[in-house]
Symmetry: C2
Subunit: 584 residues, 2 copies
């Protein structure tokens, strides 16, 4: 037996008990005649004590030899600690060691195993198994486990069945790029790894499973932006015989349950917002509503005042920065530089101070008088002491720019509190999205999303205006889930695919099995998928998903710990009926 207790469990009530503990040496203090060792395991830290008077000489020598991260086993007696440490759950006691065994020595770790480490991202990823020993990472992984257990319990209690769908499926040209897997047994053919189990969950509805869920890995071979992973985890859900309202209610209840179980927070009813309103008021389809700073559109009150920039702009829009009037001219210039960075791309920024006495001072006083500016304040909701920031230009671009500024300022102002949770449903998404490069429309959600009743016909006349039965769940400015009511009849699905540019032949080759299935009695159905990595990060009050993934990949899609991907044998390639053909 390696241990009778964990390192987090001994209390004053255990005094005089003989115990066996195993763990890692967190650190030791050697006073010559006395040695204290902090012994660590997943459950906590217990102080061990060796002293000249009570410890045999050879054991003192052995204790002196212990380095950081050595793995040891000790037998000893729990005794009262002289100087108690009320910051540690085990702080009332220590263990006087009578037997010490070194189970495994350890080289000096390449970074310190402490909550605040001296290791950079790269070295921590290379030695991720050491990084996981650190409390923040360990606690994140335990937190992730707790969230998934709660999700499973909740959904299972609601009658959802977790069904495993296959990982070796078929490549589809729609959406992101697939990872593919050459089939040895089917020469020249490839499986694809699922971008999501979308079609399978729909087939489970056709199969009468009624309520399905799965916590499942999904794969996308995309050029990795920061904080994207080639493999990621979804809480994937689908229900039959439901309308949008039914789905929203179930998953609102699930999210409410998580917030309650994990943070003790009760949120009665999640607000809902139309996609169009989200774009108008926040420039963004996933607004962070923990704070205000809503957009005020200023076209009406800025036009025809001889300021050509605003006169020529499709949209003039501003926000009020609470207390922003304290910014110096230099600080405001820095802000202007910030919005002009290529990542944001604004051409400039107009600002207007709202002084404490209610007067205004703007960067465009030449064109606008107090009356004009008071209207700006009214529309943006600016109060005395605030700063109004105004951007202008093409609607989509300027909204994205002002949204980025709003988030940046809120972060600087401490308005994005990590212990505050503001969920929001965004509903009535457009069905299609115009790809500006190709001029083609593609499905905003995916090709299986149903248009709003009666809008199918508009696909021919005004495709961009067709709204979908599609919804996102937003939490603190992050999309944590999204879904839709699906098309469940072959004809509509065929029409839809035609509008997305599929030839009938391609539609049949790619999705024939699904459309065939629709002919054998498909129920109305819909669903939703949560991005688990992000959900867990946001619930954990953080934003970096990598910190909640045990073994993440870097921005080049590499696992630097195991050094993957890697070259494989010629023999292996031959068996798979492929050869390398490196493109320059």
């Amino acid at each position: 037996m390696y241990r009778s207790h964990s390192c987090g469990e001994l209390r004053a009530s255990h005094i005089n008990t003989e115990v066996i503990l195993s763990g890692w040496v967190q650190k030791s203090r050697d006073k010559g005649f006395m040695i204290w060792v902090d012994l660590r395991d997943r459950y906590g830290i217990t102080q061990l004590i060796f002293d000249e008077e009570r410890t045999p000489k050879d054991m003192m020598e052995k204790a002196k030899s212990l380095g950081r991260e050595f793995v040891i086993q000790v037998t000893g007696t729990v005794i009262e600690r002289e100087s108690k440490n009320d910051k540690m759950p085990t702080g009332e006691i220590e263990v006087l060691v009578s037997k010490l065994e070194i189970l495994n020595a350890a080289k000096l770790p390449p970074f310190t195993i402490e909550d605040q480490t001296d290791g950079g991202e790269d070295i921590r990823m290379k030695y991720r198994y050491l990084d996981i020993r650190r409390n923040p990472v360990k606690e994140n992984l335990i937190f992730r486990h707790k969230v998934t257990m709660e999700v499973r319990k909740f959904l299972s209690n609601q009658g959802f069945i977790e069904v495993e769908t296959p990982y070796l499926i078929k490549s589809t040209p729609e959406g992101a790029r697939d990872f593919v897997v050459p089939s040895r047994m089917n020469k020249g053919q490839f499986y694809a790894l699922p971008q999501s189990p979308q079609t399978f969950k729909q087939l489970l509805m056709v199969g009468g499973m009624d309520k399905y869920f799965q916590i499942v890995k999904c794969f996308r071979d995309e050029d990795l932006r920061a904080d994207r992973q080639p493999e990621f985890t979804q809480i994937d859900c689908e229900m039959a015989f439901v309308e949008q309202e039914d789905i929203l209610n179930v998953f609102e209840a699930m999210t409410r349950h998580l917030l309650k179980e994990i943070h003790g927070i009760n949120i009665e009813k999640f607000p809902r917002m139309l996609y169009d309103d989200a774009m108008r008021l926040y420039g963004n389809d996933k607004p962070d509503i923990r704070f205000g700073m809503q957009f005020g559109e200023l076209n009406e009150v800025t036009k025809h005042k001889d300021f050509p920039v605003f006169n020529n702009a499709e949209l003039v829009v501003g926000i009020a920065v609470p207390g922003g009037n304290v910014y110096t001219r230099k600080e405001i210039d820095a802000l202007i530089d910030w919005v002009k960075r290529p990542q944001i791309g604004a051409l400039g920024m107009v600002y207007c101070r709202v002084n404490e006495d209610g007067t205004f001072k703007s960067s465009v006083d030449k064109f606008y008088d107090e009356t004009d500016l008071s209207k700006w304040a009214e529309i943006t909701g600016a109060k005395a002491g605030d700063l109004i920031c105004v951007l202008s230009g093409e609607t989509n671009k300027v909204r994205a720019q002002l949204s980025a500024l709003r988030m940046e300022l809120a972060t600087r102002l401490g308005l994005r509190k990590s212990n505050e949770f503001a969920p929001l449903w965004v509903v009535d998404f457009p069905l299609l999205e115009l790809d500006e490069e190709t001029g083609h429309y593609h499905a905003m959600h995916h090709p299986f999303t149903s248009p709003k009743p009666g809008q199918l016909e508009m696909l021919d006349t005004n495709p961009g205006a067709v709204k979908a039965n599609a919804y996102d769940l937003v939490l603190n400015g992050n999309e944590i889930g999204g879904g839709s009511i699906r098309i469940h009849d072959k004809k509509t699905q065929a029409t839809m695919l035609r509008h997305l540019g599929f030839s009938d032949e391609n539609a049949k080759a790619q999705f024939g099995f699904l459309m065939d299935a629709f002919e054998y009695g498909a129920p109305p159905h819909g669903g939703l998928a949560f991005g688990l990595d992000r959900l867990v990060a946001i619930l954990g009050g953080q934003e970096t998903i990598r910190d909640f993934i045990a073994f993440p990949k870097n921005n080049s899609g590499r696992d630097v710990m195991i050094d993957a991907p890697a070259f494989i044998d010629e023999e292996q390639l031959k068996e798979l009926n492929i050869k390398l053909d490196i493109q320059e």
Copy 2:
């Protein structure tokens, strides 16, 4: 709202309630003036009634038009049923329909959606979404969900943390063939899909996670024998600071919990058997101990009696078939033909009848007298009325042959009862296994398994005799789980890999990250993995894992429903820096 109740929920207490139901038309009986429709969903079947007197004429017409598997929604009143059906939970009532809506018509399904279907395996797999509507398949999937929920709850309550390990990892030449995934971003390099998360779970132990589990897909590109799948699911577990005994106790408790929760069966203590004994007594490392028929080795009592077949045999071994003396000569001849089939490969079979009066009649009376044969009976445990079947030859071969015969006879005799559960630990597996083709030893479990204490040295002198800290959990003659105590120091791991034929260079390239990790304070650790597909099938009283997988692949690794794998675009291949190179 599509429904107020499910189709399995209405009882006499609901009489006079107005309800809304949705589901599939299971069948309808049309008596002209009256139409009954069985409406089905996941939860059950409810009888709907339409009749001339109470149903408007156009609705009668619509009801007449309903075909099997149409999806409909009805509003109606729950009424008492005239002829009650106590075989159905809803058999006391029916619903008099006041509103009927056809949500989706259905083509006639290619096989009947009944518990006993007329569809063969191939057609059912092509239309798996229809197959899933059938109770046996649906119930299997729900059963699988229940088992996994119980496993997760049990392990979570025991302090295990479910950690997701990556799917895009690195190919290793050891073990079965990997499925690989070309990396677009790392030209010419490949990921591999995990055959198991083995090294990652060990790294989690090095990382101090202490108790890990994961229900996870694994992948093996093997030539598919019957009832093997290229992707399969494991309950993967690992613990730190444990000895074999600790692991056996935890997972015995888990299995006991499952048997109790699922079948209400209490099994106090699982028996344990040495690998060597299992091979000697059952010819098999996964003996079915629901019944006896243990092997009796007869070399001592058959040699030197002028029967050259036995005299020259490495092993002469028999089993007593309970009540087998009733077999006619023809039946016994058929049995001899059975063991001589190429799949079994015996050269012949000697038999000996034990008559009711205690006398013997054997096929080798020329060589053996009553005294000799009475010893055979004693050693095999044969009683009056039994039949002793004896095979002889090379030890390994003859054991496998007699084991196959034992299982076949037990099946014919009805001794393998599907509602009886006989778990068994098989322990002390050999560390290495001789590959007879190459003459090389390879790891019987995997290269990370630790040899029994003090036996490492024997690797040089008598490698085949080295026993491992490895164990299997057997249930009803099936291996449902297996694991080992792992090597946790670099030196032993390096020695082990050398003995498995890895050059130091290869060992470093493949497993360097693991051996490096062992130098930074690796705790003693070990674990176990259950094959979930098989566990669920066996717990469900069945043996075919395919029946417990939602979307299985066929023996060529194809998903015939979605028609995968498939050819992919030239463009896609180019992006992945590969081209086809089909070997003839």
